[in-house]
């Protein structure tokens, strides 16, 4: 989501953005390839009235002024997998161990470039996420290889004794569990993978 100078100009902005997207799309892959290798934090080039700045996304870890978006949720799932709700200063920002395996995450193992788009959007796999903050209790269906239909309950989240069902996001086969039974999970945390027949597309 690009910066907007002000609410009142959203429409012009969107128009212009759409227009330059083409140019950008042509440029960025080349730049990324060229610069992904270097260990630069930021580059800037000026010409005439305009300034172009390229910034590498946040290094996972403590506050450095950068948006983190998707890495954050990924971090949570990694943390959930660690099983304990005990204090871990870097828990939020830890990149998901499974990150490399998720396309669309972009280069250097970062996913923040995808600006909030859940990372499974472009995949032939879908992920069941947590509907609440609590403790993950998978049921019998939540075992690798089980065929499930969209909407099937794969278990529940125990929220102070109240159950919130975890539902299958699509028809398919249950794949890896991204966190163990009994783990503390946060809202939206990725719990388990459903391998679907046809690509879901980036709808």
């Amino acid at each position: 989501m690009p910066d907007g100078p002000s609410k009142s100009r959203d429409r012009d902005r969107d128009a212009d953005l759409a227009a330059i997207d083409a140019l950008i799309d042509r440029l960025v892959p080349a730049l990324t390839a060229k610069l992904g290798a270097s260990h630069l934090g930021e580059l800037e080039v000026r010409e005439g009235d305009w300034k172009i700045r390229l910034r590498r996304p946040a290094t996972a870890g403590s506050w450095n002024g950068e948006a983190r978006r998707a890495t954050d949720r990924a971090g949570r799932s990694a943390a959930g997998a660690s099983g304990s709700p005990a204090h871990d200063p870097h828990r939020v920002a830890t990149p998901a161990s499974s990150n490399g395996a998720t396309p669309g995450g972009g280069h250097a193992g970062h996913t923040s470039g995808t600006a909030g788009r859940p990372s499974h959007e472009h995949e032939t796999r879908r992920v069941a996420t947590s509907p609440a903050v609590g403790v993950f209790r998978p049921n019998a269906r939540a075992t690798v290889g089980t065929r499930v239909r969209e909407g099937d309950a794969l278990g529940h989240i125990d929220v102070l004794g109240v159950r919130e069902d975890v539902l299958a996001p699509a028809d398919g086969l249950v794949g890896e569990l991204l966190t163990d039974a009994g783990n503390a999970v946060e809202y939206g945390q990725e719990l388990l993978v459903i391998a679907v027949a046809a690509p879901a597309g980036a709808a």
């Binding site: 609410k7 954050d72 709700p85 204090h87 939020v92 939206g188």
Partner: protein, 456 residues
């Protein structure tokens, strides 16, 4: 003291609580909605946990989500901040039921002071002057009309629950009353889930002066002076200062002492604020109590040097007050400017979007409390407060000059803010003379203020 606190709020107050935790050696866990994933408190927290979607009802207003988050992150206390569930006695009770400490008054205390109208009677019985008002809640329109006649117009229609100007209307005739009362009921219903209303005598040209108190579990109480919040727009405070220019030193001390005596006698606990209207002749009338830390608490912190959030946590932890009244000395003058994402040129329409540039002012006597950073996207789902610029100086004139300079240094780009209205206020004669009344900004209109500043 607590080992680990869940911060059940967002924005600048979440950051403020986190900073208090840092100085007290307490771990801070920030509970956040999906819309606040990138917020500064989330990034600075020892741990952050997503509790729900952007919709506050399913996140910051969801007791189960917040308490579950506190339990699984191993917290021993919950700080509700202001707004949201900060004064909800049910939430306070459920927090306690899960062996967590609610950082605020106990459920019993919140319950006792939940009804504004009931609180008026209670504190009135303990010697606070109250504003003439209706005999209890309004049963129906007929009852409302009778009471309004008895009190005498103009009258203010007020909801028993909530605050922030919602469900509030001033009416000057029975006809206005009849039409306004329906709107107020529906506003109050949707905003607070409670449509009970009452009437209050409307004082033209009144000042809003509030007394900050702190009372420990052992019934020992102190006051920390007062704040003047007369600069309002539609009952919304936009600038607060202390001491109040409305009262002399003796009257200020007397008001503050009576306030703390009354709430101690009435059994209040924790930090709180007693709000008074002050009429043209300097007579104060108690109107309501706020059982939470307030947006404008930094004014008091700059005048007293006391960390109000730390004090609140100590009281909640059951510690006796670390200060006596004689330890509290008010030095100089402080002014807080609320920086909101709203457009003064377009009826203060709230805004949202990416902060494309942010530069905070600095130097002596300048404090900035803001969760903004460059590249942060302000979500459209919550209130419009972007932060608070607070200045201190030995005297009011110097504080005003310092405020002007700091507002000139402050840069917030990417969304429209009310910074210009603050600059205009500092050029406004009524404000410079210390004669602002709660109705002035609405009466004169923001346009006039901005125009005046342009000329200045």
């Amino acid at each position: 003291m607590f080992r680990r606190v869940l911060i059940a709020n967002r924005g600048e107050i979440a950051l403020r609580i986190l900073r208090a935790c840092r100085t007290m050696g307490i771990e801070a866990v920030v509970a956040y909605s999906e819309a606040d994933r990138e917020s500064l408190p989330v990034q600075l927290a020892d741990e952050a946990i997503c509790i729900g979607p952007a919709d506050a009802k399913r996140s910051y207003l969801s007791a189960p989500a917040l308490i579950s988050a506190a339990v699984i992150t191993g917290c021993d206390a919950v700080h509700p901040g202001y707004g949201f569930l900060s004064e909800d006695e049910t939430f306070a009770e459920v927090v306690r039921a899960h062996d967590l400490t609610f950082i605020g008054p106990s459920a019993d205390v919140l319950d006792k002071f939940a009804s504004k109208e009931g609180t008026r009677r209670l504190l009135g019985s303990h010697g606070l002057p109250t504003i003439p008002g209706s005999d209890g809640m309004l049963r129906d329109d007929a009852h409302a009309l009778d009471e309004a006649d008895r009190i005498g117009y103009p009258v203010l229609i007020k909801p028993s629950a909530g605050g922030g100007g919602k469900g509030m209307r001033m009416v000057r005739t029975p006809r206005e009353l009849e039409s306004a009362i329906k709107i107020c009921r529906s506003e109050a219903k949707s905003a607070f889930g409670d449509d009970s209303l009452y009437l209050e005598k409307w004082l033209d040209d009144n000042r809003h002066v509030e007394v900050q108190v702190a009372i420990d579990r052992f019934g020992r109480g102190i006051h920390l002076g007062e704040r003047d919040c007369s600069v309002q727009r539609r009952h919304q405070k936009i600038l607060e200062e202390g001491p109040t220019p409305a009262l002399g030193p003796a009257a200020r001390a007397d008001l503050a002492e009576r306030a703390v005596r009354a709430v101690v006698a009435a059994g209040y606990e924790n930090v709180g604020t007693l709000e008074f209207l002050v009429d043209r002749d300097g007579n104060p009338y108690f109107i309501e109590i706020n059982c939470r830390i307030q947006v404008e608490h930094p004014v008091t912190e700059l005048l007293t040097g006391v960390d109000m959030v730390a004090l609140q946590m100590r009281i909640a932890a059951g510690e006796p007050l670390p200060l006596t009244q004689s330890d509290i000395t008010l030095e100089g003058h402080a002014i807080e400017f609320r920086i909101n994402a709203e457009d003064p040129e377009h009826d203060f329409r709230p805004g949202a979007g990416v902060v494309t540039r942010y530069h905070a002012p600095g130097g002596p006597g300048v404090r900035m409390d803001s969760h903004l950073y460059e590249g942060y996207e302000v979500p459209p789902f919550y209130d419009s407060l972007l932060g608070k610029l607070v200045v201190w100086a030995p005297d009011r004139a110097t504080a005003i000059a310092r405020g002007k300079a700091a507002l000139d240094e402050l840069l917030v780009e990417g969304l429209t803010t009310n910074i210009e209205i603050h600059k205009a206020l500092l050029a406004n004669e009524a404000f410079l003379d210390g004669k602002m009344t709660t109705n002035l900004l609405d009466r004169v209109g923001s346009a006039a203020f901005l125009a005046a500043a342009a000329r200045a």
